[in-house]
């Protein structure tokens, strides 16, 4: 169906869950007032990014009051949001939740936890173990958290699982200043547009803004059409709300003109992956 998405490019406070929940609620209320059908927030929107030893202190169980508040809000608008999840056996995950009609419709635990350069996620967080597409009011969706998107197999699996819209929640630090545009921004836009084009999927990319210990998150949230064209983008470095209308017609048109997903041969892929796996295991 045709729908309107609000990309909520916010500036969370590090470790202040109550403040961030209030900010998210306020922003989502505004998205509702603007007649958006879906609100998408960044990775770790409820907590901030460079948490380190704060991870256990800000983690939420799925039956927490914060999650209940977001569920309640989702009776009026669908919501995708990032937070730290703690399970009953005290595993901590960098998770993204999809709330719809007052329910937790889908939970994705970040699989690819960057642990290099300025990143140190695997020290503090557990690794998710699956990529699954799921049905929503807006068709079949694939949720990704930031670094997941940099692994070709992740959006590929979601598209093979039937997703026509990929939603990527991000906390991307800006760096690389020796060119016309910010290095990270260029890299991400190349990634989201190429992914959309390879998989003839829409890509909704929502990145945060603000600084943590000198690291500036660059924002620049955007929506990519299945053709690979960026249809709308939020400003870089400043908080913003970007409202974008998406139609099934554009998806249909692209899937007719570029039937790449139809022609993708899962059998060959699986056979070759099995072979590679066997050869590696020996």
């Amino acid at each position: 169906m045709d729908f309107s998405v609000a990309l909520l490019q916010i500036k969370p406070k590090l470790g202040r869950v109550a403040d961030n929940l209030a900010l998210i609620q306020e922003q989502v209320e505004q998205a509702i007032a603007q007649k958006a059908d879906l609100a998408v927030l960044p990775e770790l929107a409820l907590t901030g990014y460079f948490l380190k030893d704060l991870v256990p202190e800000v983690a939420l169980t799925l039956d927490s009051s914060e999650i209940a508040a977001l569920k309640e809000l989702s009776k009026r608008i669908s919501i995708a949001v990032g937070f730290v999840e703690v399970t009953a056996d005290f595993q901590f995950y960098n998770s993204a939740a999809w709330f719809e009609d007052g329910e937790l419709k889908h939970l994705h635990r970040k699989v690819y936890l960057p642990t290099y350069g300025l990143f140190d996620e695997q020290r503090y967080l557990g690794r998710g173990d699956r990529f699954r597409a799921f049905d929503t009011k807006f068709g079949r969706i694939g949720l990704l958290v930031c670094e997941d998107m940099w692994h070709l197999s992740a959006p590929y699996l979601l598209a093979m699982d039937g997703a026509t819209t990929l939603v990527c929640l991000s906390s991307s630090p800006g760096r690389g200043v020796d060119d016309q545009t910010l290095g990270t921004a260029t890299a991400w836009r190349n990634l989201t547009t190429s992914t959309a084009r390879f998989l003839t999927c829409r890509v909704i990319y929502v990145n945060r803004v603000g600084y943590e210990d000198g690291v500036g998150f660059w924002g620049g949230s955007h929506v990519v059409a299945p053709s690979g064209e960026i249809v709308a983008a939020a400003p870089e470095f400043d908080p913003a709300t970007l409202l974008v209308s998406l139609t099934d017609a554009e998806l249909r048109r692209e899937r007719i003109s570029s039937p790449l997903v139809r022609d993708e041969n899962l059998c060959i892929t699986l056979r070759e992956l099995s072979r590679i796996d066997q050869e590696r295991s020996c």
Binding site: L14, L51, L54, V177, D178, D179, T181, L182, D213, G214
Partner: protein, 273 residues
């Protein structure tokens, strides 16, 4: 084009945003910095004025009796150009009172003492105005250890610590630092006629090209030699970076417990902000 060339408009925006965000989030509005008359503090002064409004920036010039009078004149020029609050606090009485007890102290001890004297004045004014002390060390100095530990290296926030000197020159043009300050030879002004490049024994442009490849691009010696750098120069600079590393770290804490500060007690400084 050298990879040291930066997109100055983009960097300006990132650094102004950095100052606003990091200062406002701790509930402060103001900043305090030492204005030496040199380009690094001039650049920080301009960035801070743009970020916080010039009325919220207190720039202090802290000359010693042997400081070049041109330095104070240039500091005034920068304060006028950026519109910030400006004052002069001389350090001669305090420094001389101390060295009366140690008349044989060499230039290094005297220079370090002066830098630390200035630091105490800045942090005192931080309390006076409720403003954060801004650091003005650039990446070249920080990597070479060309600064005084707990002196000019001490600050709450440093907007230019990830910019090489060569990049400081570029950004200074962009933000409107007065020409005489950009064009003069860099000097710590610790004694008459001192210039950084003479004291260091190489130019900033030479060492920045090397440091950029060594640090940012992680080039190995073979690659650096192939790029035209002399092995002695490479070794000497690598040694400087290595031997000054202690200046870039917090004091070492002896571990005896299960959770030691900064080793397994890890939080961002912006914890809760």
């Amino acid at each position: 084009m050298s990879r040291l060339n930066i997109n100055t408009k983009l960097v300006r925006r990132m650094l102004v945003g950095f100052l606003q965000d990091e200062i406002w989030k701790v509930g402060a509005k103001k900043a305090v910095l030492g204005l030496s008359g040199g380009i690094d503090s001039a650049l920080v002064c301009h960035l801070a004025a743009e970020a916080l409004g010039p009325e919220n920036v207190h720039a202090i010039c802290m000359p010693y009796k042997t400081s070049n009078p041109e330095s104070e004149a240039h500091a005034r020029l920068v304060a006028e150009a950026s519109g910030v609050q400006f004052s002069v606090v001389g350090i001669t009485p305090m420094v001389d009172a101390y060295f009366d007890q140690f008349p044989d102290a060499n230039n290094m001890r005297r220079g370090n003492k002066m830098a630390r004297e200035r630091m105490t004045i800045l942090f005192d004014h931080s309390a006076l105005y409720g403003g954060l002390v801004l650091g003005t060390s650039n990446k070249t100095e920080l990597l070479l250890g060309y600064g005084t530990l707990y002196g000019d290296m001490a600050s709450a926030l440093n907007p230019i610590g990830d910019l090489y000197k060569t990049q400081v020159w570029q950004l200074s043009e962009e933000v409107g630092v007065p020409k005489p300050v950009i064009e003069k030879k860099p000097s710590a002004d610790l004694w008459a006629g001192q210039t950084d490049e003479e004291e260091l024994g190489f130019t900033y442009r030479e060492v920045d090209e090397l440091l950029y490849r060594m640090v940012d691009q992680r080039a190995d010696t073979t690659e650096l030699v192939a790029a035209g750098f002399k092995p002695e120069f490479i070794n000497s600079i690598y040694g400087k970076v290595q031997n000054s590393h202690f200046k870039r770290r917090l004091p070492v804490i002896a571990k005896v417990s299960g959770r030691t500060i900064d080793r397994d007690f890890r939080y961002s400084r912006d914890w809760g902000k």
